[in-house]
């Protein structure tokens, strides 16, 4: 004789939030159980940080303002670059779900349909936070020093979080549009690579040719990197803070509805 089933009797909105939390827990479990991915989230940022600092440091530090070490200059950029690349795992996760039958199952349940995407985005925030903390610790060990106050650090955390959120949703869109996981990998690569390198992530814009420079100084990643850099190095932030916030909120306002629409479209195909 089966046990008597007890159903939730809470309001719809609370149940919908609950669905997203359940999906976030699922995605976070994926991160923890997927050992390869977890190692990547740990060691890839360390590798990038050490390599860039060692290889470019000597050549680029001459072009930096006096008193600024390349490691200090690099730190904000490498964090943003790592978060941007790390977000592409959300695209892979979304694409994977669509290809296996599990999205069909989720959709046949009386659950909130967007919880699946919310879950992948939430777990991406966790993974990015791990990577960022790892990089900061390694950076401090090899000589990174910051002028930021506690309030500055809160602002830095807020900016990185907002950027990760915006990029996770963009990434979800790629995952929803791609036909296969392989397609996701090259799509995110050709999107993220130019955006992170044609910016002031690794080098100041001063030495770039005029066309590249015009692109680099106006694109969103530069705004975020420069805002975080100003906060970390104790420099005046200028307009970068507002521009970074504006860009990311703009991206979210477009990306979230688009992703929701694509999810409904793809999942009912």
């Amino acid at each position: 004789m089966p046990a008597q089933l007890v159903f939730e009797r809470r309001p719809r909105a609370i149940l919908a939030v609950n669905d997203s939390l359940l999906m976030a827990r699922r995605s976070c479990t994926h991160i923890i159980r997927n050992t390869d991915q977890l190692l990547g989230a740990f060691f890839q940022p360390i590798m990038f940080l050490v390599l860039f600092a060692a290889v470019f440091g000597g050549a680029i530090s001459k072009t930096l303002p006096p008193g600024t070490s390349y490691l200090d200059f690099l730190m904000p950029g490498i964090i943003i670059q790592t978060v941007a690349f790390g977000s592409t795992t959300a695209a892979v996760a979304v694409c994977n779900d669509l290809q296996k039958g599990i999205v069909d199952r989720f959709r046949s349940l009386p659950m909130s349909p967007l919880a699946v995407l919310n879950g992948h985005v939430a777990s991406n925030l966790l993974r990015s936070a791990i990577s960022t903390v790892v990089m900061l610790v390694v950076g401090l060990v090899i000589g990174f020093r910051s002028q930021a106050s506690v309030i500055d650090w809160l602002a830095i955390a807020g900016l990185i979080l907002l950027f990760t959120l915006a990029f996770s949703w963009l990434s979800a869109i790629v995952g929803l549009m791609a036909k296969s996981v392989e397609a996701v990998q090259w799509l995110t690569f050709v999107l993220v690579f130019p955006l992170t390198f044609a910016s002031t992530t690794f080098v100041p814009a001063a030495g770039m040719n005029p066309i590249l420079k015009a692109f680099a100084v106006n694109q969103p990643i530069t705004q975020v990197v420069e805002a975080v850099r100003a906060l970390m190095l104790g420099r005046p932030i200028g307009n970068f803070g507002w521009l970074a916030i504006g860009w990311n909120i703009g991206i979210l306002l477009l990306a979230v509805p688009l992703a929701s629409w694509l999810f409904r479209l793809r999942a009912s195909g």
Binding site: L5, F7, E8, L15, R33, I102, R105, F106, S108
Partner: protein
Amino acid sequence: MSIADYVIEVQKLTKSYGKVEVLKGVDLQVERGTMLALLGPNGAGKTTIVRILSTLLGFDEGTVLVDGHDVRTEVNAVRAVIGLTGQSTAVDELLTGRENLVMMGRLYRLTASSAKVRAQELLEEFDLLEAAGRPTKTYSGGMRRRLDLAVSLIATPPVLFLDEPTTGLDPRSRLAMWGIIKSLLAGGTTILLTTQYLEEADQLADRIAVIDGGRVIAAGTPSSLKSKVGNDRLELTFLDDESFRHALTALDDDVIDSNAAEYSASVVINDTNSDVKRALNMLAEAGVVVQSLAVHKPTLDDVFLSLTGKLKPSGTVESN
């Protein structure tokens, strides 16, 4: 005529992908507590019907009611009463069997404690207790299918859709799955099952609808359908022309088909045990030596041959 209690009612259902008509006016009814098997080849439209019934897919025309709810306008009411086991196993590979069950239970709106109790119950019932703590990617195909079915039963839905639940399973796992499905039926669950195997539909279903090219080309009880298709046959092959001729004389009226070039003949059997014995006794009395014999059960191909006169089902497109 009595008023039947239909849990699934489909009328004049049509569905096209672009210019390809996948369903061309399908009518189906399933009475409460019974099983209807949709029997048909790949691409006949079976999966499309299941996806429409389980609210995953829209359609062009017709009415589709599940437990009295319109699948178009009362989506959540339908989802609350159905369980779906699709063709590709839909369990999370990195979560354990137990975690899968509890998560799906919660998504069905069970409370946390209720989901846990029910998960334990299903793990016991489906012989998965030992593997409950392992990620499901380590499961065998049969275990994964069992978990998949268990997941769709987590909230004991009164209506169950099973899309080719035994395709790709070894014979032992298939029998285990049949056992589980039979006990669900005995418990009062209404089931719509799709299959490519006549034997499976015959074993489990109260009624069978044969689907081909997006249409129901025949419907009825398994026995009425089998009487159209023909019974089991005993196929005999003889050593040479002489024994072949002696055999035909001995078996006489029972022979429904023979091939002189291959020295082979077929005999209708209604009851495998007694009829085979009788035929062999008649041959032994006539002193004929049988070279080989085989019992042939009607297959999907035979169904189509007798229903459409064509050897191969026409099919439409792959819909999944």
